[in-house]
Amino acid sequence: MAGRFSEYSEKVLKIFKNPVNVGVIKDPDAWGFISDPTRGVTMELFLKLDGDVIADARFRASGCGATIATTSTITQMLKGKTPGQALEITDIDLAQALELSERKHYVAELGRELIAAAVDDYRQRKALK
């Protein structure tokens, strides 16, 4: 039992203190959900599209500081992108954007899976229409 906050970058701490786009979108065009109970991580992503472009993104998350900061950053990175472009965001992109430590890289991997889950949901909804 010991705090290891020094492993967090200034970026993670800054976003953790003031995450943006927290919340839900009612009637979203896409919804993604990732849960890793072993690691204590849950991430939820809501997207609203304007045509083929992500116009709004919101999130909820439970987990460590890196989890909350990463999910918040994802919402910012997604705005203005098409679903196809969203899928091009890699775990390395997320890790670099947040300056995540090696030990926290799994959070970036979960973030990439979250984006993939939301885009998958979007495509399924579109196919049903």
Binding site: M1, G3, V22, G65
Partner: protein, 395 residues
């Protein structure tokens, strides 16, 4: 803002009196205790005087104490030392699931060398049942090691009952008393232990020094060879200043236990009841009464312990968590999981441990700050609203 330190179970600050006791042996009285001239004899005197003080605190004979580099080495020496000394008699060890890693690690290392280890489960409060110990004893059992109090959840074990069983069966009994020495009464005769581990830095002494009590006649093979020190049970030049500090810390603790443990119990219970009154879905980990005076360990549902501690740190409050994120492993606290809690609650565990300089004002500050932190994190948590069947709202 002044920092509030509530992680005394991790380590404690050095008492000024302890520093004063150590200082001569870092500076002018620097001699090697194994030498015959005056410098050496002054150092020898310091080591033996400290040994007497620590022995006095636990009602042991001075020669029954072996100084080590800390609690971890003391636990390693007890477990591996007994196993090696008695390996011709048997290869079975009994311990429990919530021991400190410095007991579990040596047990696992012995398993790799052909030993069998029984890891007894604990009940929902973290206690080992003496019956389960009795049932686990075999003809090959050479050691039973059950901690006096758990470092995470503070639960006290029925050590005296378990040691009686060990003695009836002619088996050595070891207890890790790192969390209890200097905080509650520790008497090797009353506890009936053959081996007992202690550490200086948990009682306002320096880091890097500990001791293993070894009852006269108990066989322990050394871990470190190559010198006559500590009656050939632990080679290496003694950490004279550290040992002198340990002795002074033990001496001071001995006189203060009754009053200080009572004060900490009050602060502990004040914090537990305050948190439970202000925050819903919070569970106390560990025994409600048979627990260390200064230990509060709670699982806060729907949030992750590290995020709580990070927020507390931003408020200048230092606390610990059993969440995996801070321990480097994937699984959360093995101790909280052993209580039967699910992973979510294990990830949500937060520990506050109080000590000599903890004030009522500091506890009030935690009680004031924690509900807001939990509300903020729950407001972001998808788990919280899902379970409560409430539609999501912008956070």
């Amino acid at each position: 803002m002044k920092r509030i330190y509530l992680d005394y179970a991790a380590t404690t600050p050095l008492r000024p009196e302890v520093y004063t006791a150590m200082k001569p042996y870092l500076l002018e009285d620097f001699g090697n205790p194994s030498t015959l001239y005056s410098y050496g004899q002054e150092a020898r005197q310091a080591v033996e005087s400290a040994r007497e003080k620590i022995a006095g605190l636990i009602n042991a004979k001075p020669e029954e104490l072996v100084f080590t580099s800390g609690g971890t080495e003391a636990n390693n020496l007890a477990v591996k030392g007994v196993a090696q000394a008695l390996e011709k008699q048997g290869n079975h060890i009994i311990t429990c699931a919530i021991e400190h890693h410095s007991v579990l690690g040596p047990c696992q290392a012995l398993e790799n060398r052909g030993f069998e280890v029984t890891y007894l489960p604990v009940d929902e409060h973290g206690q080992v049942s003496p019956e389960s110990v009795g049932n686990a004893i075999t003809g090959k059992t050479v050691l039973i090691s059950i901690m006096h109090a758990n470092n995470e959840i503070g639960t006290l074990q029925p050590v005296a009952e378990i040691s009686r069983l060990a003695r009836q069966n002619g088996i050595y009994f070891h207890t890790d008393a790192v969390q209890t020495l200097g905080h509650i009464a520790v008497d090797v005769e009353e506890l009936g232990v053959d081996l007992l581990s202690a550490s200086a830095h948990k009682i306002y002494g320096p880091k890097g020094v500990g001791a293993l009590y070894i009852r006269q006649g108990v066989k322990v093979a050394p871990l470190i060879d190559g010198g006559e020190q500590e009656d050939r049970r632990r080679a290496g030049t003694e950490n004279v200043a550290g040992i002198a500090g340990f002795g002074r810390a033990a001496e001071l603790a001995g006189t203060e236990i009754p009053e200080e443990s009572c004060r900490l119990r009050q602060l502990r219970d004040m914090l537990i009841s305050g948190i439970q009154a202000a925050i819903e879905d919070v569970y106390l980990n560990g025994h409600p009464s048979a627990r260390l005076p200064g230990n509060v360990n709670i699982s806060i549902d729907y949030v992750e312990g590290e995020a709580v501690c990070l927020n507390l740190d931003l408020e200048n409050i230092c606390a610990a968590t059993g969440s995996a994120c801070t321990t480097g492993s994937i699984e959360p606290s093995h101790v909280v999981l052993a209580l039967g809690r699910n992973r979510r609650l294990a990830h949500g565990s937060v520990r506050f441990t109080m000590g000599k300089w903890t004030t009522e004002g500091e506890i009030e500050r935690v009680k004031h700050v924690l509900p807001g932190i939990v509300a903020r994190l729950r407001g972001m948590s998808p788990l919280y609203r899902q379970d409560r069947c409430q539609p999501g709202q912008a956070g």
